[in-house]
């Protein structure tokens, strides 16, 4: 039994080393000098320890601007999705109106359409609208999500009907009932969805890479990939840049990991 346990820890330990290793290795490189990062044999501890890579990036490249762009875009997308999806999910779960079932299936059905099919027409549409290189291109098409609506609907189906009946007796209309009584109950779903949407937007690459062309409008991932092209083998600099994208997410994830894992669980199974 104890031997089995030892084996278990060994397996888990090895895999944890495999997942954490690349992060630590990159973090260490970001504090190294050019000579140290290409030294052979490689060492984990940066010696000499330097912050120059970070100061260089901040002075010579618009990393702060890219971070700002990413924050604005991810912020708008997150807030909009958290509320707009909740409203739609509630309507589909609880409000009575003709065509409710059909609409639900249409919305669910759209989840099957792969992004690649619509990339070209959406690109053409957004060019016609003159939205290329603007925040609008990366926010307005992404204000809602069928997946998010589905997640909320499943939650609202489980809320006891007596709450709405009581609200109705108090003279509340459907709007008040939703915003004052029902939505506050959905806080855990809102938290999970906020994290999903924020990460999805913050980390997103395909759409911003296609819809942005002036460096000042880049999001962090797009900026980072363009910057790697210029600083090809200066891995200490490239890894410092990588940390700009990774570190905020890792911190947020560690703080909210409980909601996150719950969120994956509730959506993954149903």
């Amino acid at each position: 039994m104890t031997r089995g346990r030892g084996l278990l820890y060994l397996l888990l330990g090895i895999y944890a080393a495999l997942t954490l290793g690349p992060f630590l290795w990159s973090l260490s490189a970001s504090f190294k000098t050019v000579e140290a990062v290409s030294a052979w044999p490689p060492t984990l501890i940066p010696r000499p320890f330097t912050l120059e890579n970070y100061t260089y990036l901040l002075e010579k490249l618009p990393f702060l601007r890219w971070m700002f762009n990413s924050l604005v875009i991810a912020g708008i997308v997150t807030v909009a999705n958290v509320f707009l999806n909740a409203m739609a999910g509630y309507a589909l779960a609880r409000l009575r109106f003709p065509g409710r079932k059909v609409l639900f299936w249409i919305i669910i059905g759209t989840m099957m359409i792969p992004g690649q099919v619509v990339i070209i027409p959406v690109f053409i549409l957004l060019s016609k609208l003159g939205w290329i290189d603007s925040y609008a291109a990366l926010t307005i098409p992404f204000l809602t999500s069928a997946f998010g609506v589905f997640m909320y609907r499943q939650f609202f189906l489980g809320v006891p009907k007596s709450l709405e009946e009581a609200a109705m007796l108090d003279g509340m209309g459907p709007f008040q009932t939703f915003f004052r009584i029902i939505l506050p109950l959905a806080k855990p779903v809102m938290a999970a969805q906020a994290i999903f949407m924020f990460l999805g937007s913050w980390n997103g690459f395909m759409w911003p890479a296609m819809l942005l062309s002036t460096p000042a409008m880049y999001t962090l991932p797009v900026g980072l990939s363009s910057f790697q092209g210029q600083y090809y083998t200066l891995w200490n600099l490239v890894m410092a840049g990588t940390m700009f994208v990774t570190a905020p997410v890792v911190v947020v994830f560690i703080i909210f990991q409980r909601y996150f894992i719950q969120g994956v669980s509730t959506t993954g199974i149903k």
Binding site: P42, I113, P114, V117, V118, I124, T144, F205, V264, I269
Partner: protein, 295 residues
């Protein structure tokens, strides 16, 4: 009173659903129809009026396009390699993390971290680690394995990207398996203990069969994910699928056709072919699992 209420509910439903319906119609359903339309045309992006209707030519040409066939082959190879490995590791890790051990939260966070990291960051980290003087070659040198320029070698580039894919996605599927495991009642295992089943037998005859629905879900998601792979390939090969098309995937080729060759009709036809392939695979998997259920 009641009539007012019914009317108020209809109005609320209309307003609540308006945002999602608008975005879906304008940015998804409409574009899909348009993509279908241009896939039958020799489409000119600059002057859409000059587009020529060529019916199925784009679709037919796909089958004599060597690059497309290579991309399809690479994508299938990639999927066949990545899906089983990532599922097996995800399942094993979930079982381990779900058992009675210390430091569960640590392991869960550690395993999940690659999944929440930006694909660009992951690609750059691996480009460095896979380089000729990188850490991978250093570690392998202890086993007497000669240094390889992983990402620039036509034999190793695709397998190297497959390992990267497993590394990034295992965490996600582990969490889904974990959720499934937590729904298995404890009493099932207590009964197994009474019957004197050992650890392997419990895994084989209880856990695995009870997780069949989860496995089905993971299989579908994993297959779709591998067939739609784009970010890492695009970043690492600069959108080229090199060396010598050895890492050309279908989605990468769609991009190349659309935004480098500006052959958007052809690219759209390719996107629909990919959709059909994924759809067919999903149905095949459904049939396979459905049949098993009856047996």
């Amino acid at each position: 009173m009641n009539l007012d209420r019914a009317r108020a509910e209809k109005l609320a439903a209309f307003l609540f659903l308006l945002p999602i319906l608008l975005t879906l119609v304008v940015f998804l359903l409409g574009p899909m129809l348009y993509a279908f339309y241009i896939s039958f045309h020799e489409f000119s992006f600059m002057v859409p009026k000059n587009s020529k209707f060529i019916f199925l030519d784009n679709y037919i040409n796909l089958f004599s396009d060597d690059t497309f066939l290579t991309a399809l082959k690479n994508t299938a190879f990639y999927s066949l390699g990545v899906v089983p490995v990532q599922m097996a590791i995800a399942f094993l890790l979930a079982v381990c993390v779900n058992s009675d051990i210390k430091g569960k939260t640590f392991f869960r966070v550690a395993f999940f971290l690659p999944t929440v990291t930006s694909s660009v960051a992951v690609s750059l980290m691996f480009m460095w680690m896979y380089s000729k003087t990188g850490i991978v070659n250093y570690l392998f040198s202890f086993f007497g394995i000669p240094a390889v320029d992983w990402l620039n070698n036509i034999h190793f580039a695709l397998p190297a990207l497959m390992a990267l894919a497993v590394w990034t996605t295992v965490g996600n599927f582990m969490i889904i398996y974990l959720a499934g495991l937590q729904e298995i009642p404890k009493s099932v295992y207590e009964a197994a203990d009474l019957d004197g089943l050992n650890a392997w037998q419990r895994l084989r005859f209880i856990t695995w069969p009870l997780l069949k629905n989860t496995t089905y879900f993971v299989l579908i998601m994993s297959t779709i994910g591998t067939f739609q792979v784009f970010d890492t390939f695009y970043i690492i090969t600069k959108g080229d699928g090199g060396p010598l098309d050895s890492t050309m995937t279908v989605v990468l080729y769609i991009f190349k056709a659309a935004f480098k060759h500006f052959d958007m009709g052809y690219a759209s036809a390719m996107a629909f072919m990919l959709f059909l392939v994924i759809f067919g695979l999903s149905i095949a998997q459904r049939l396979f699992f459905g049949r098993e259920e009856e047996a």
